[in-house]
Amino acid sequence: MHELANSVTLTVNDISVTVAAGTTVAAAMLIAGVSTRRSVIGEPRGPLCGMGICFECRATIDGVPHQKSCQILCADGMMVRTL
């Protein structure tokens, strides 16, 4: 893959995603087309507020669960996992 100097590549549920540097994990998950979490009754959810208050965008990032993906920037080699 052609690597741009100002891009980063991460993995979202085994899908490799290349995004511009400065992109948040929430945006990368939307680009990859994965929902962020399953609700208590099992509904798929995605980001709602985009600013760290609704907690709908939580995902496991580099092994740490319940991270607010809208407030974390993508990094090369980052591993993001949702259910």
């Binding site: 995004v19 511009a20 400065g22 992109t23 948040t24 929430a26 945006a27 990368a28 939307l30 680009i31 929902s35 962020t36 979490r37 399953r38 609700s39 208590v40 009754i41 099992g42 509904e43 798929p44 959810r45 995605g46 980001p47 709602l48 507020c49 985009g50 600013m51 760290g52 208050i53 609704c54 907690f55 709908e56 939580r58 496991t60 740490v64 669960p65 319940h66 809208c70 407030q71 974390i72 920037l73 993508c74 259910l83």
Partner: protein, 439 residues
């Protein structure tokens, strides 16, 4: 680890930046703590698309002596003069002589069938995510809700190549005309309005109009809009829907600041009812960027002991307070919006509590105890403002039900020693119950 500041500012949006920069001019040790990766808050998010005012203030911040703590979330006030924050997974104690709260605002979301589907977002919510890297070129977007934010969002998304199908403002036209008449006194805002109108030409601007249903199998596919009892369907990729703004009061309330009509009460130089605690920007009344900047400057100067300069600026603040009232009237919600949610519609998205379950209760406290509404991760930040409108529940009770930690944090970051740790299933979270989470 404890860091000491003469003046500590919470929130790096316009008000917080202006406060920190103004205070730092007075040879004080000033700290600016914010939970996002970058300064700018919500309105100045994304450096590529910043206004001249944003560039000016962020350049002043960059050139100042302010200590910046980005990615740092304040979750507790364990003692007078001390805040506790989580910074990149670690706990920090921040001690201060004077504190300036510039915690900003969030959107009010109202529930309707299908609003929990992925790709139904806030208006500011979608805007924030696009500014954070999501491309929207060629995407079909319906913008809905209420307030001037809708036009700003539609204009920005259109500028990024999105196809804006409709802008649905819930307020009737007469309510907006009144607001427009007020705006004529503010040429800069009129000019901005014209720019937004030009950017969104081709999109239908509908008044007295709102979404009543969203459909899709695993994400949004269509939205049903209603105007004058007439309904129609729009196929779209995103619904950006927010019903104006509500202040972020968790920290001011935790510190004991008095509220007045749902906002933090201050004097002319932004002092709250709590000694050495100031408040600036949206938590004192939703008034937009220009007012937030002035309030930030006043608070920064006053906190630094430059009261005379602060008092001089207080005059120009007073002249702008009329805009707060005009905005409030322009965004009064149509009572018919209370009837869109069906009994099966979820209101609390964290604990999946439905409208039907909630309306059996007399007040927020009962509903919380009986249904777990507002007891999930967001701690009522989303459903609280909805419940206040839908059921007329006491806003003061909703705000006062917040307990520390005001954001969920790993238990290891809570205690005095920080030694308690539950690594087996990942860190246990305090401030929420994860027991029922399917995650």
């Amino acid at each position: 680890m404890t860091e000491q500041f003469d003046i500590l500012v919470v929130g790096a949006g316009p008000a917080g930046i202006a406060a920190a920069v103004s205070a730092a001019g007075a040879r004080k040790r000033v700290g600016l703590v914010d939970d996002n990766p970058d300064a700018g808050g919500q309105i100045w998010r994304g450096r590529a698309t910043q206004s001249a005012a944003a560039r000016h203030w962020i350049a002043r911040l960059d050139g100042s002596s302010v200590t910046r703590l980005q990615g740092c979330r304040v979750f507790d006030a364990p003692a007078k003069g001390t805040l506790r924050a989580e910074c990149g997974g670690d706990r920090r104690e921040l001690s201060y002589g004077k504190l300036i709260l510039a915690t900003g605002a969030r959107e009010r979301f109202l529930p309707f069938p299908g609003w929990t589907l992925p790709n139904v977002m806030g208006a500011g919510g979608l805007d924030a995510i696009v500014r954070s890297g999501l491309p929207v070129a060629g995407k079909r977007v319906v913008v809905a809700g209420t307030g001037p934010l809708l036009l700003a969002v539609a204009a920005h998304l259109a500028g990024r190549g999105a196809k804006i199908l409709a802008i649905c403002e819930q307020a009737p036209l007469r309510q907006l005309i009144h607001f427009g008449a007020h705006l004529i006194r503010e040429p800069a805002k009129v000019l901005q309005g014209i720019e937004y109108g030009w950017a969104t030409r081709g999109a239908r601007f509908q008044t007295g109009c709102w979404p009543v249903e969203a459909h899709g199998s695993d994400k949004l596919e269509t939205v049903i809009l209603e105007q004058n009892r007439k309904q129609w369907e729009e196929r779209c990729d995103y619904l950006a829907c927010g019903f104006h703004l509500v202040p972020n009061l968790e920290l001011p309330v935790l510190l004991g600041c008095s509220l007045e009509s749902g906002f933090v009460a201050t004097d002319d130089v932004m002092r709250t009812s709590v000694a050495n605690v100031f408040c600036a920007g949206e938590p004192t009344g939703i008034g937009g960027v220009e007012l937030a900047l002035i309030e930030g400057e006043i608070a920064g100067l006053a906190a630094a002991g430059r009261t005379h300069e602060a008092e001089k600026l207080a005059e120009s603040r007073k002249q702008r307070l009329g805009f707060v009232c005009a905005l409030k009237h322009a965004t009064v919600l149509d009572p018919r919006l209370k009837t869109i949610a069906k009994d099966s519609t979820l209101v609390c998205r964290c604990e999946d509590v439905s409208f039907g379950k909630l309306r059996e209760h007399a007040n927020w406290r009962d509903a919380k105890l009986q249904t777990r509404c507002g007891m999930g991760s967001c701690q009522g930040r989303v459903c609280g403002a909805a419940a206040e409108f839908l059921f007329g529940w006491d806003a003061a009770q909703i705000h006062s039900s917040i307990r520390p930690p005001v954001f969920p944090v790993p238990v290891s970051n809570l205690g005095a020693t920080g030694k308690l740790n539950c690594q087996d299933d990942g860190p246990a979270m305090a401030g929420t119950s994860q027991s029922k989470e399917v995650e």
